[in-house]
Symmetry: C2
DNA sequence: TGTACATCAGTGAACGCGCGTTCACTGATGTAC
DNA sequence: TGTACATCAGTGAACGCGCGTTCACTGATGTAC
């Protein structure tokens, strides 16, 4: 999972096992090539020929390493989910004096900004559809994420820092929605609102989200 | 646009122009059939044969009425956007003593709950992709919606009911994300969180969203 | 140390299926005289 | 009022393209003797 340069090799390879150069193997190249294509166009609209071309490899390699298109897609999703989960683990393992909720949002948006295809694929192809990947997502990601984060949130509540009159399930929906939506809306709203996902958008938007979530939009003191 | 019963007619029709029964025409039937299919499976993964079968009509009718698949999709999107915009217009035209922000969210979530395919298609196929539909969405929907709503929000700000220290573009992203996400996440998070989009979910979630947006999650008085 | 060979990583041509689209045709309806 | 005919709403078979997938094959590498 050390993904650095996507080699767009157009020079023809000779048949047969290639000499063992220091380059990445076809498996990794295919995942790197597929991720942004799946995110941009959707899985159904992305051909394996397009993926293979971008990876500088033969379409037959998809069957070789992943069995079929669904296998490649699953590998892409696993790669993304692993990154998010790793970041979450590092967050709860580290200790800091800063408030937990802003740190959580900052971490979450940090990983997603680094690989925008993660939220894009999650929303468009995993979360919205009732596929076999759904179980995988629930059991191997959602469950573990809740397991990691929930105790810390409980701690905040016990400490009297978070309101008790909110439905936790709804809050979860709201927060995740707030965090994921900008990545999906980027192509339309980006030009309209002059947004750029790269650079320090992640940090700025994380700060905004944390503040909005904690204090809301209403002027303090007005309780009508 | 009076869409009531999707006739799943499997009985064979005779060739030639059919007798003018009171039934809906193929154009309307195709839009009604395509909308939920496009929302569930995505446009690329939905075949015109599947749409035509569900509409009880021949695939050739797509070319007849919409020229091609893209034309049918555009008609579906226009149908959805028109519904949302109509509701928005009715909202700003009506007058009420209730606070504006909760009414706005309630109206918005109301239309979307009635036709969940609207937010699903918008997120997965319009907003996330850089297609010709993007311009249509921006010019014929987003621009008009902002034109309708922005003055009312300004009014709230001038009245001192909304905070001034928030970036409006970010707030827009957050609110729209909060409202749309539940519809997209329903297939995964629904069973997990025991959510049902129909029934009074719309109202309950609208109330939650309005409260969260206005006051945030932090216990009032804590300004650390 | 040399050598035979199984394995591994990959090629590239081909196949068949299903897709979007086309096209010649049909029969009920509306209309002009 | 009857009739001829253009139009309108639709059929269903067919076409060709591009897709996912398969398959026979290849040559470098690692390993056992």
């Amino acid at each position: 999972m050390t993904e650095k340069s996507t080699r767009h090799s157009s020079r023809r390879r000779k048949p047969g096992r290639p000499p063992d150069s220091g380059e990445q193997d076809a498996r990794t190249l295919l995942i790197q090539a597929a991720a942004p294509l799946f995110a941009e166009r959707g899985v159904a609209a992305t051909s394996l020929r397009a993926v293979a071309l971008r990876a500088g490899v033969t379409p037959a390699m998809v069957a070789y390493y992943f069995q079929d298109k669904a296998g490649l897609f699953e590998a892409v999703v696993r790669t993304g989910l692993t990154r998010v989960l790793t970041a979450m683990r590092e967050l709860v393992d580290s200790d800091s004096d800063a408030e937990f909720v802003p740190r959580l949002i900052r971490t979450y948006l940090g990983v997603l900004s680094a690989d925008p295809w993660i939220p894009q694929i999650l929303i468009r192809e995993v979360v919205s559809r009732d596929t076999p990947l759904r179980r995988m997502f629930q059991e191997e990601f959602a469950a573990k994420a809740v397991e990691l984060i929930a105790p810390r949130i409980q701690l905040e509540i016990s400490a009297g820092r978070l309101r008790r009159d909110l439905e936790p399930r709804f809050v979860l929906l709201s927060v995740v929605g707030m965090c994921l939506f900008p990545f999906v809306a980027q192509p339309v709203l980006g030009p309209l609102l002059n947004l750029h996902l790269d650079g320090d958008f992640g940090e700025q938007f994380a700060d905004h989200t944390a503040r909005l979530l904690l204090a809301g939009v209403r002027v303090p003191g007005d309780d009508s």
